[in-house]
Symmetry: D2
Subunit: 380 residues, 4 copies
């Protein structure tokens, strides 16, 4: 909350260019897409608010939270002070109210809580971008086994689009319901896509050794996420049992055109944002030159500006994608045993959650997929 | 360096909105201000490049470094991959070349190295925004005592403008030479300005207990800045002897209209960006109500959108200004002894260096002071 | 929990020197002081367990926690795997059982919960070292005002000893009930003691600008202590209202022999352990030479090996005391305005809590105050 | 440097128990092993000094550094203030002087610099524990290829013992020259030893995905190790080309009794200390029950107290070994594809360098291997 600022002052700032990122002559204010955000207290909610605060064609009209109802958004998230989004009052989630005030709703609520709310909003004619896991898995039984929750809206599982823009851009155009990909699957699938699409991997299941920042665990108060548990520390967790495993396998199998398993090993990094995945693949032909493999990657991502395929010898790091939509990919071939090592980096909060949700929502609404996402990474 | 991207791809991304932040219908590309950046390897150089990559009215035409000549800018700073700025080739610094290619030059070189280069560029008709300490102190003798360096361009000391936009906006308009304020002085001066301008402080010298992130020490390889020296550590340094002391005293004395000393105590925080200053002032009238003091702050910054004066009871934190131009200010009155405690937060790299330099350069070139600076803080 | 270790193996390790720190020829095992630890889940409990695992003259016979009853201590705190202490089973707190099994009990429970339990244990003939705030303040009314809790054992307030070994060593010898000092007061009081005892401070209330690591906030699950809230961040909090204020003022007034107030400003550092306090004092005689002030410090701490008074020009840092009992003190005189700046560093978990508790308990039991505390700091 | 401490004070502290860790009735002071430390400025030198400060049977008589000659050790490394070791004056390295003053010398110098110095000291009758890579590889040609340095003392390559105490304890007893294992190889070899010794691995080369804290890069001033390059960041480096690769392969081949290659992938963690290795092995029999594999680990390390083999379901983390000699090992079997995943954690500075060097030196001198190493990990 900024105190004592005359309302004219901010207007002046707008006129003088401060808010230049949110104005755009080609897309008049009146026709902005009205969006709602259900679940604004967590990290994905915070990140959506950050991105919407500067989005040229979207206007945040509702931000909901039961526990914080009535507070100003900038009072809850002080980094938003001084922005128009920050002045929004938080309301309780109410489908009827959302239907009146919004064209599209982002659901940033825990898995299990999203499915019925999504169904309700769809019935009211809204578009829904769900950031939970509820609509990612095509197979009801797989969902129920891994999430230990009954799926009450199985019909929507076939309708929902998996919102990875590089792979599903066409389906996203005009979709009613999008399942935003998980953070780990985003980096893993983008890293393996050129290999599997082109059928150059051997039979051994790929290994995805992934390391994530702590924001991926959410903003829930739990001992395991405390600073003094995580800082100056590092650990592996949920090896071979993490819930993103079936999601990764579903997408990779779809790309490969055959059923595929992986060894997926998540680790917890003492950083705020970012996932680096080190991926090991045995090549069908161990003598395949790196140059030929690189060509497949260059071709696969030639038209996708958010994937940066690095020059030979370069490897990505987290900070070079911090706060942005970029997925950086580096390749190494271990010539001593013919293995391909793929290293990918994303910002788990932006590319791995809220930024990707904006990209999906852009496409659902007929906007350019990169609208509002031209973010330069923050380093250091 | 992004490999294998067809040139058409990036064009496509631009057309589809990815680079929407850098386009603006009101200010045609052809008339962008051409700027140069001397010293691109350090943190202030990196941050200038980040900001210029998205600046709607400035175009980076030269980036210089003797040691990195010939490399691509994105090869040196991989976070810039995929941006137009990142494709610029680093050149050796050459005043003649800079004069041909630029309208204004940012100097991000160590103190001592800036003064003669600035003079040379000014003679060639360029505008100069100097981020070093060389033109901040009005008094040659003070400069030479604190910096142990002869000042070879004393005439320019009177011409140069101290680039704090809230206090010197009028002088900056059209200036030829601007001295960008130091990082610590920025937070200290903005925090004390309303108190000193209104003459409510007592005689006891203010205490500025300041805590800075490590990027303030620069990107030079030195043991004291190594991760394993700084991480999980904290220390005070240069108590009462730091070179920003005379700069703070010069500006505060100017505001107060009387000579003033301070106790300035810098500390080194294990964070990348940010300075928090806790400032202690004895009040002339210890019974002055906090409400009245708050009115002075609200009034002083009513027209300055980059200063966020917090509501009563709120205190700033570093991450709420990370990556942005905001200076957040909170006030506490210690009613038990009549002291005023002012807490200010800035991002030392953005507000405390490169962002403020952009604001100054904007004003020097007749652009809105906030152009290209509508940055939403990155939290977490 | 270490699996699959034959019991003989650990014996062998003991015999071959692994546990040499816990054996001592002069003090036979049979006569070890039997101690209990009530509240083993938090950070002070963890640190007490760490120190007791290597204490030559104390044996941990009970570790209690309602929520973790039945688990092995090393199962809860894996760093204890392989130690004898780690094999202890956690029990529910039961005064009768504690009385049977222990000579002295450490209370590591929240304030308010300690007072009646302490009284009960004292009635049963045990000695009690209380790490909460319940017995620190002499004045019932002051306690009740600052802690908003009724004090039900006011008689014990006069009996309890304030457990700062350098200042209260004589009273601690043989005491029944010791109130372990707060973490912030420890660094503040040790820093100001020579100044106030010798009456060289002026009338202006001292300023204590203190910066603490996050473990000081405890191991309770709360959003404000999450990694992604604290890391790469910094803030001030509870300025002039922190509960350690009356404790600091009580001890300083006792030393000075006159009522004294302070400005106490706590800040939250993104580090695990440590408190650095920057203390500002106006001198009665602003021209008093630093050399003379230094003599007072040297003399005050000449016989106290845990206080390291640094050579002129040196300032302390957190990591140089990490994991140890040291309180490092550096002095600077701001000659430009006659102020004395005192910088102190402690490890808030060891010196500021559990280590100091061990020192107090040592003295209560007739052991050397430094027994089990010869800890070399861990750097980096 | 501690100022103003009367010499009697420290004596008093000793008598009262402060230095109890360094006294031992069974091993009189006079017969302590006199050790020298060549290269005291770096992190391994610091850690050796920390450990020697509390070693009951070793006395540090020389600490050398060309650049710091004449300074007190505690002046260079302030955490040592107040210890006897800290009062030692740093001298220039001089083989003749070392021969007079020492029985054994630790070499903590860069690879290439150790070989001739070791030879010289051995000729003078000293024992040598070399922490560099100079004597780790048996094959001169392999050394010269990976380190791009001529090996001038090839005869010593066959004499030197690889100082992993669990595997080479017998050879270390009485050895003249010990090559201390590299930090990465320590965790990798201990993790794979039971698998390879028992021949249960398949033919596919093991993958070692290792993540190390920054202290492993040494205390040399370089941009890549700066706080602002490493903090809140993470990256892979030297994939398949790191110099520890041939060392790992040499030891694993020796254990397996057949030539073996690995995929070794190091990563840089934003932590001070620690290496976690996630190791992937295909099993010869994919259906081998985890229980049987666990038995092999339990048996292999039954007599080795510094290896903690965790209970089923538990995984190690860095902080649980911080500052200690422990190597923690957890096992997971990915039942979906029959892979074994081994996770190991060590403190790279203690177990991965200086602590292991002490263990080796203990055995070389006929002391118990764990003497001076009964260190409880520091958490958090």
């Amino acid at each position: 909350m900024t105190a004592g600022k005359k309302s004219g002052a901010r207007q002046g700032a707008t006129r003088s260019g401060l808010r230049s990122t949110s104005g755009n002559a080609d897309f008049p204010q009146a026709s902005k897409v009205r969006v709602g955000l259900v679940g604004v207290t967590g990290y994905t909610g915070m990140e959506l608010a950050r991105l919407l605060a500067a989005h040229p064609f979207m206007s945040l009209t509702r931000a909901t939270s039961r526990s914080e109802e009535g507070r100003g958004l900038a009072d809850l998230h002080p980094f938003l002070r001084g922005t128009a989004v920050g002045e929004l009052a938080i309301s309780a989630p109410d489908p009827e109210d959302l239907a009146r005030a919004c064209d599209l709703v982002f659901l940033a609520v825990p898995h299990g809580a999203a499915m019925s709310l999504a169904a309700d909003l769809l019935r009211r004619g809204l578009r829904v971008l769900d950031l939970s896991a509820d609509f990612r898995l095509r197979d009801k039984a797989v969902y129920e086994r891994w999430y230990a929750t009954e799926h009450t809206e199985p019909d929507l599982l076939t309708e929902s689009v998996y919102g990875l823009p590089e792979l599903h851009g066409a389906e996203l155009a005009g979709a009613r319901l999008t399942a935003n990909p998980g953070c780990y699957p985003t980096g893993a699938v983008l890293g393996l896509y050129p290999v599997l699409k082109n059928g150059i991997a051997g039979d051994s299941p790929p290994i995805i050794d992934a390391k994530s920042g702590v924001s991926g665990a959410g903003r829930e108060a739990k001992v395991g996420s405390l600073f003094s548990e995580v800082s100056d520390n590092f650990k592996a967790y949920s090896l071979s049992t993490h819930r993103h495993t079936p999601e990764i396998e579903q997408e990779l199998s779809r790309i490969a055109g055959r059923p595929l398993t992986v060894s997926f090993s998540p680790h917890l990094l003492p950083v705020n944002r970012g996932i680096l995945s080190t991926i090991y693949v045995d090549l069908k032909n161990p003598n395949m030159p790196l140059r030929d493999i690189r060509s497949l990657y260059a071709e696969a991502y030639a038209d996708h500006a958010f994937v940066r395929f690095l020059r030979e010898g370069a490897l990505p790091d987290l900070r070079s994608v911090r706060g942005s939509m970029y997925c950086d990919i580096g390749l190494v071939k271990d010539e001593r045993n013919g293995r391909l090592i793929i290293v990918t980096c994303i910002d788990n909060m932006c590319r791995g959650a809220s930024g990707q949700a904006i990209a999906g929502a852009n496409l659902m609404c007929g906007l350019p997929s990169a609208a509002g996402l031209g973010l330069i990474p923050l380093a250091p």
